[in-house]
């Protein structure tokens, strides 16, 4: 028995067909595509999709892992709030293991801080209702995908008149990050595998500048193996036959206009920050969301004393270069040696959507096969440039 919406996008025969089509369309040219979204990075490794691509088609991992782009200083702030007496600090499980400059939230919890992991911001609201003598703080992270549920929670907290609930808002927006990557010197991308989940909220038009100003294709893509391969086919067709534009491979979910209701509650509750620090990308203007002044009493940054300091990443950590697609995860000196999923130094090694964690958990074997191929002198000459995805 097959599972609808899952198995129909995982048929091996379809994969073989798509894979052959990619080989045919790319005609041996080197093509470098960035998957913006961490969900894609995870899917690519989970399914071993790199094995289905010809060596000349390379996938580069982008900045779309929400856990990975939170700068260390914000984790320090989160730790400070979590350690405040009387606080219940509610967070998504992924954030528990991200290192701050002094341990992680998991360590803070073992130390006595009341840190709970939750699946939805509404769970945090329930915690607030059930613990009226405690201050419940929700650690809000994520792109436009998760921001609307934070917004809806905020509206409900206001309507219920809860006064022991607040939000530590770290929501970021994807477009400025893509623009920062396109503007960075040495950018060598040929196209984008566009973020499927974010697009369900913001729609297609915010991506138009990529084709218009930078002449690059972007295809909004679903998360099953066939989606990703089909998207590569669509990008290659644009590169071959033109015109370069925004295309929607994920039309079964993404509507061209996005989700208007979600955007409305977002703008009702949140506003753009003048600037925000992204791990590895530095400060990007108008790239993150803060609560509007009307919601100040729900704003944890105003309710609690947070250090609000910029903390430089550990020297050995090259998450920044990884997030910009400048280096492959394994090219970081500490990758797989000092920095592993059990002992992460950088955030990219924590989240299952992080390029380093995905690479370490799933990709090591293909790395080893490449290493073997390179160790044999004959094959170096015949191989040409290595494909390292």
């Amino acid at each position: 028995m097959s599972m609808r919406f899952v198995d129909e996008y995982r048929e091996r025969a379809d994969m073989v067909h798509l894979s052959a089509e990619i080989e045919r369309l790319s005609r041996g040219r080197r093509v470098k595509l960035m998957e913006v979204c961490g969900g894609h990075t995870h899917a690519i490794y989970k399914h071993g999709i790199q094995d289905l691509l010809p060596e000349n088609v390379e996938l580069v991992h982008g900045p779309g892992c929400p856990v990975c782009v939170i700068p260390m200083g914000r984790i320090d702030d989160a730790m400070a709030i979590a350690r405040t007496p009387g606080v219940i600090f509610a967070t998504y499980g992924d954030m528990m293991r991200v290192p701050s400059s002094h341990g992680s939230l998991l360590d803070a919890k073992a130390d006595g801080a009341d840190v709970r992991f939750i699946y939805s911001p509404l769970d945090a609201l329930t915690l607030a209702r059930n613990n009226p003598t405690k201050d419940v703080v929700f650690f809000a992270v994520g792109f436009e995908t998760t921001a609307p549920s934070t917004a809806a929670t905020l509206l409900r907290a206001r309507d219920e008149g809860l006064d022991n609930f607040s939000i530590f808002c770290n929501h970021v927006t994807i477009i400025p990050a893509i623009k920062a990557i396109l503007d960075s010197p040495g950018m060598q991308l040929d196209g984008f595998i566009g973020p499927g989940h974010v697009s369900t909220i913001i729609g297609l038009s915010p991506f138009e500048f990529i084709a218009r100003d930078f002449g690059l294709p972007i295809v909004i893509t679903g998360f099953e193996p066939a989606d990703i391969l089909q998207s590569v086919v669509m990008i290659l067709r644009q590169l071959t036959d033109g015109p370069v534009r925004v295309e929607n491979q994920y039309a079964r979910v993404v509507r061209p206009d996005g989700n208007r209701r979600a955007l409305e509650i977002l703008s009702e509750t949140m506003m753009l920050r003048a600037f925000f620090e992204w791990r590895g990308l530095g400060f990007i203007s108008q790239s993150a969301l803060a609560l509007r002044p009307e919601f100040a009493r729900f704003d944890a940054e105003l309710r609690f004393a947070v250090p609000n300091l910029r903390v430089t990443d550990p020297k050995a950590c090259q998450c920044g270069e990884v997030l910009k697609g400048v280096i492959k995860p394994w090219q970081c000196k500490v990758f797989g040696a000092a920095c592993t999923p059990e002992t992460p130094i950088g955030s990219c090694m924590v989240s299952p959507e992080g390029a380093c964690a995905a690479y370490y958990n799933y990709g090591r074997y293909s790395l080893m096969r490449q290493g073997d191929a390179m160790a044999a002198p004959v094959s170096i000459a015949s191989r040409g440039p290595a494909v390292l995805t």
């Binding site: 028995m1 599972m3 899952v6 995982r10 091996r12 994969m15 073989v16 995870h42 490794y45 989970k46 399914h47 071993g48 999709i49 790199q50 094995d51 289905l52 499980g93 528990m96 293991r97 998991l106 360590d107 919890k109 073992a110 130390d111 939750i118 699946y119 769970d123 193996p225 066939a226 492959k328 394994w330 090219q331 000196k333 990758f335 797989g336 040696a337 000092a338 592993t340 999923p341 059990e342 002992t343 299952p352 958990n361 799933y362 990709g363 090591r364 074997y365 293909s366 790395l367 080893m368 490449q370 290493g371 390179m374 160790a375 170096i380 440039p385 290595a386 390292l388």
Partner: protein
Amino acid sequence: MSSRIESSLPVQLGRMERARVVRDGEPRLRDTHITLSHGSGGKSSHALIESLILPAFRNPLLDGVADAAVFHAGQGNGRIAMTTDSYVVSPLFFPGGDIGKLAVHGTINDLAVAGARPLALSVGLILEEGLDMEILRRVIASMAEAASSAGVPVVTGDTKVVHRGKADQLFVNTTGVGIVEDSVRLGVDTIQPGDAVLVSGYIGDHGMAVMLAREALELEANIESDSAPLHTLVAALLAAAPNTRTIKDPTRGGVATTLNEIASRARVAIAIEEESVPVRQAVRGACEILGLDPLHIANEGKLVAIVPRAESEAALAALRAHPLGRDAAVVGNVQVDPAGMVLLRTGVGGSRVLDMLVGDPLPRIC
């Protein structure tokens, strides 16, 4: 840029391999406090056990780190197997089982996968002040029923009560002893390249049933724990495939963690075909939604067996002929390279490393 990459890949692989050998050889415990990951059954648990606990008690029986210790007692035939396990599952009751049934089955299974015929159990209870007597009554009745239908009596026990808040309702410890016939020779050191890897049925049922029983998820699916005593299934397997190399029950950390432990101890590679691993639709669906891998989800009524290729058909037939092994499957085989690793051939035809569980999707699953 590509020439720089090509020259440094072997260097980086060497660095990773050295780090891996160091980690595998002598797991380092860097943490200053116990965190929940130390109880996950994954890598942190291993580091804790191997670097803090085992060294203190070092002896040849313990060093095998098997599910049960197996040793000679006196001059008679057969060896004694002994094991212990504590149960802290939350919630206490979940579809398909409860903490009491789990505590009986879990310990029977640790004996069973050591090749032992379970003889007797002890039960230790830690009760929180204020626990509803009706809850205790239900748990005890369930333990009694599980023990009697498995044919393994509870022969001794202990009860302690702690102040409110010092335990969460009720914790259970069970210890079990059994007899291993002299003919049974299980051990990862007997594993050979070419051996077949079998699982006895649908995986991930227990862990997913407990996860979904926690209301926080608000995900409804019809999944029941597979909690079951495996000793008769093991006996059937050993009768059909007497040269079975090793048997494990893939509890915390799931089949993936169990296979990694086997690959690491036997210094072999294990290759798994994702498509041949039996997973129920509902479990797969819940895993898709939660972003989990069924291979990392706990089981309480399944076994993983490594069997010589020549006996794999007989082993599979024997498992399938038993009510607890109807959906058994051969899921992969043992290879030489890369030693210590588990590889997965994915459904779409790619391949990847299948690692142990890191972190914990949800603690207190058993």
